[in-house]
C-alpha cells in the first residue's frame, strides 16, 4: 500500500510540473512573447482554461503527503519554511494576476496585473529550484544555496521552454507550429526535476507512510472517484485543445 500511495504522490507532483509548468512558463515569457496588449491577452487566453485544472495537482499532492505520509508533511514543510512562504506568495500573486487582469478595462490596470502574473510565475519557478535542491540533497547552508541557484536556473529554463512549446501548440502564428508530440516532450522535460527529486527521496518517503488502516480508508474513499478525476482532466483537454473551432473568438475570462 505504501508503494501505491508513493506512486500517487509521484504522479501528482510530476503531473504538477508537467502541466502547471507550461502555465508558469507562459507567465514568465509574457513580456517576451507578448509585445503588445493584444498578444498578451492571446497568450493568457491560451493557458486560461487549463490553469485551474493544473494548479490543483499540487494541492492534491500536498493532501496526499498529509494523509498518507503525515509525519513527513510537517517535517518537510517546516524545514523549507522560508521557501514555502515564498512559493505561496508567488502562487497567490500569479493567480491574482490571472483572476483580476480583465476585471477592469484600461491599459494600466491590465499591465499591472500582467506584471503580477509574470513576477509570480518567475517566483514559482525559482522557488521550486531552491526547494528541490534542499529536499533532494538534505543539504543546508552554502552548498544547498549554490545547488539551489543551479536548479532554479534549470527549472526556470525547462518551464520557459515548455511554456513556449505550449503557446506554439495552442496558438496559430506563435512561433514554429508545434504538434502534440513536441508538447509531450517538453512536458516530460518539465517533469524531470520533480521526478529526479522523487527518485532520490523515495525510500525516505515510503518509510514515513501512515499505518495500513489509514491508507486503506484513504483508498476506499479515493479510488471510486479516480475515474471521474481522470475523466474530468481529459474533458478539459478535449474541450480546450487547439483543434476546436472558435478558440480565440470567445473572450477569455482571465
Amino acid at each position: 500500500m505504501e508503494i501505491v500511495w508513493f506512486g500517487a504522490l509521484a504522479l501528482l507532483l510530476a503531473g504538477y510540473f508537467a502541466l502547471e509548468g507550461f502555465d508558469i512558463g507562459v507567465g514568465m515569457l509574457l513580456p517576451v512573447l507578448g509585445r503588445d496588449q493584444a498578444a498578451r491577452d492571446r497568450l493568457v487566453g491560451a493557458i486560461a482554461p487549463f490553469v485551474l485544472a493544473n494548479e490543483v495537482w499540487l494541492v492534491a499532492g500536498v493532501g496526499v503527503l498529509f494523509g498518507a505520509f503525515p509525519t513527513l508533511e510537517g517535517d518537510v514543510l517546516f524545514a523549507l519554511y522560508p521557501l514555502v512562504v515564498a512559493l505561496l506568495v508567488s502562487w497567490i500573486v500569479r493567480d491574482a494576476g490571472l483572476w483580476f487582469r480583465r476585471r477592469v478595462d484600461g491599459p494600466r490596470w491590465r499591465a499591472f496585473w500582467d506584471g503580477a502574473l509574470c513576477a509570480g510565475s518567475w517566483g514559482l519557478a525559482l522557488t521550486w529550484g531552491f526547494a528541490l535542491a534542499r529536499v533532494a540533497t538534505g543539504l543546508d547552508g552554502l552548498p544547498a544555496l549554490l545547488l539551489g541557484v543551479v536548479l532554479a536556473a534549470v527549472v526556470a529554463a525547462v518551464f520557459a521552454f515548455h511554456g513556449r512549446t505550449f503557446a506554439a501548440w495552442r496558438l496559430a502564428g506563435e512561433g514554429r507550429p508545434r504538434g502534440g508530440r513536441a508538447l509531450l516532450g517538453s512536458a516530460l522535460l518539465a517533469a524531470s526535476p520533480a521526478l529526479a527529486g522523487l527518485a532520490l527521496t523515495a525510500s525516505t518517503v515510503v518509510g514515513h507512510a501512515a499505518p495500513a488502516g489509514t491508507l486503506n480508508m484513504l483508498g476506499l474513499m479515493v479510488v471510486p472517484f479516480a475515474p471521474l478525476m481522470v475523466g474530468a482532466q481529459i474533458w478539459v483537454w478535449r474541450t480546450f485543445g487547439p483543434r476546436r473551432p472558435a478558440g480565440s473568438r470567445v473572450p477569455s475570462f482571465f
Partner: protein, 395 residues
C-alpha cells in the same frame, strides 16, 4: 506576543478571511446552478443573464477563497507540525480526501464551466455548475469532519505516543460533525441568498431599468436565504446537546468564546425573525415595496459577521486544546518555530491577502453596480476585426 500567540493569530486571521469568502461560495454556487437550470428548462433569456451576472459575482469571490485556502493547507505543516506528528494518521485522511478528490474535481469542473460557455453543449455546461456545487459541498463535508475531530477525537485511540485511526465510521458520525455540517451549509445559503437579495434590493431602490431581472433575483435570494436561516439556527441549537456532553464549559472558559456565541445567537435569531415575519410573508411584494429595501440591504452583511463569530466561539472555546483532551495547542506547534519566522510570514500573508480581499470586494461591488449589461462571464463572441477576418459581404 510570544511565538504561540503569533502562530495562533496567523491561523485565526487567514482562517477567518478564508471563511468570509467560502461561506459566500457555498451559498452562491447552488443559486447560480438553480438559475442556469431554470434557463435550461424554460429557455427564458432572463435566467441566462441572471446566471452570467451572479455567476460572475460568484467567480470573483471564488478567487480569494482559493488564495486563502492555499495558505490554510500549507500552514498545517509550517506552524503546526506537532499536529501531524501526533494525529496525522487520523486528521490527515479527511484533509487528503478533501484536497485530492473534492477540491481537485471542483477546480477542474469550475474551469470547464467558466471557459466552457459557447463551447460545451448546453446540458453538459449545466452539469458542470451542479458538479461544482456538489464538490464544494463535499469539500465542506470533509473539512468539517477534520475540524470535528479536533473538537472530539472520535474514531481514534492512543497507540504509543500517537493517535491511530481505529473506526472510520465513528469519525464520520462524530456528534461534533453531524449537526455542525448542516449548520455551516445553512450559514452559506443564508449569506449567498442575502447577498443576491440585498444587491437586488439596492438596484431596485435606485430604480434600475432591469426591474424583472432584479425582481426575480430578489425573490430567489430571499427564498434560499430563508431556507439557510432555518437550517443555521435549527442546527445551531441542536449542537448544544452534544457540546454539553463532549466539551462542557466550552463557552465559559474564555470570555471571547461566550461573547461570540451570544452575539451570534442574537444575530441569528434576529435574522430568523426578519425572515419569518417580514421577508417571507411579503416575498411577492418585496421587490415593489421600496420601504423594505433598506432593511434587506442592512441585513446583508449580518450573516458574515455571524459566521466569523461562530468560528470564534467554536475554536476559542477549544483552547487550550488543539485536539480536545489529547494534544494542546502549545504541543502542536512546530518545534523550533521562532517569532521572526511567524512574524515575517504573518506580515506577508496578512498583508497580501488583506490587500487582495479589499480589491476583490471592490470588484464584486463594481460588478453589482454596473449591472447585468456589463457582465463579462459567458459574453458572446468578441468582434475584433483582427481576430476574425469576416467576409466582405454576407447574405
Amino acid at each position: 506576543m510570544d511565538v504561540l500567540d503569533l502562530a495562533r493569530t496567523q491561523f485565526a486571521v487567514t482562517g477567518s478571511l478564508h471563511f468570509l469568502f467560502v461561506v459566500l461560495t457555498l451559498g452562491l454556487a447552488p443559486l447560480v446552478a438553480i438559475m442556469q437550470t431554470r434557463h435550461a428548462l424554460s429557455g427564458k433569456p432572463v435566467f441566462e443573464r441572471m446566471t452570467r451576472f451572479w455567476g460572475q459575482t460568484y467567480v470573483i469571490n471564488y478567487a480569494l477563497g482559493v488564495f486563502t485556502g492555499l495558505v490554510m493547507e500549507f500552514q498545517f505543516g509550517l506552524s503546526w507540525s506537532g499536529l501531524s506528528h501526533y494525529a496525522g494518521d487520523v486528521f490527515g485522511a479527511p484533509l487528503a480526501i478533501e484536497t485530492l478528490v473534492a477540491f481537485f474535481l471542483e477546480s477542474t469542473f469550475l474551469a470547464l464551466w467558466i471557459f466552457g460557455w459557447h463551447r460545451l453543449p448546453r446540458w453538459l455546461h449545466l452539469a458542470c455548475i451542479w458538479l461544482v456545487t456538489l464538490t464544494a459541498y463535499a469539500s465542506a463535508f470533509w473539512i468539517m469532519v477534520a475540524n470535528a475531530f479536533l473538537q472530539n477525537p472520535a474514531g481514534s485511540q492512543v497507540r504509543g505516543d500517537r493517535l491511530a485511526l481505529t473506526d472510520p465510521g465513528a469519525l464520520l458520525s462524530n456528534p461534533s460533525f453531524v449537526y455542525a455540517f448542516p449548520h455551516v451549509i445553512g450559514a452559506g445559503l443564508l449569506a449567498g441568498g442575502l447577498v443576491v437579495a440585498g444587491a437586488s434590493a439596492f438596484q431596485l431602490s435606485r430604480r434600475h431599468p432591469e426591474a424583472e431581472f432584479f425582481t426575480r433575483s430578489m425573490r430567489l435570494g430571499t427564498v434560499v436565504a430563508s431556507i439557510g436561516v432555518f437550517l443555521a439556527v435549527g442546527f445551531g441549537f441542536a449542537q448544544f446537546g452534544p457540546i454539553g456532553g463532549l466539551q462542557p464549559g466550552k463557552f465559559d472558559s474564555d470570555p471571547l468564546s461566550g461573547l461570540s456565541l451570544g452575539l451570534m445567537i442574537m444575530l441569528g435569531e434576529l435574522l430568523m425573525l426578519l425572515f419569518m415575519f417580514l421577508l417571507l410573508p411579503l416575498i411577492w411584494w418585496l421587490p415593489k415595496w421600496r420601504w423594505t429595501h433598506p432593511v434587506v440591504i442592512l441585513a446583508t452583511p449580518v450573516p458574515f459577521v455571524a459566521a466569523i463569530l461562530g468560528w470564534l466561539a467554536r475554536e476559542v472555546g477549544r483552547q487550550p486544546w488543539m485536539i480536545n483532551g489529547r494534544l494542546t495547542v502549545a504541543d502542536a506547534m512546530s518545534p523550533g518555530l521562532t517569532p521572526g519566522m511567524v512574524g515575517a510570514s504573518f506580515a506577508a500573508f496578512a498583508g497580501l491577502l488583506g490587500l487582495l480581499a479589499v480589491v476583490d470586494y471592490v470588484l464584486i461591488a463594481r460588478t453589482v453596480l454596473r449591472g447585468p449589461a456589463a457582465t463579462f462571464l459567458g459574453a458572446p463572441e468578441e468582434s475584433h476585426a483582427s481576430d476574425c477576418p469576416s467576409p466582405a459581404l454576407t447574405y
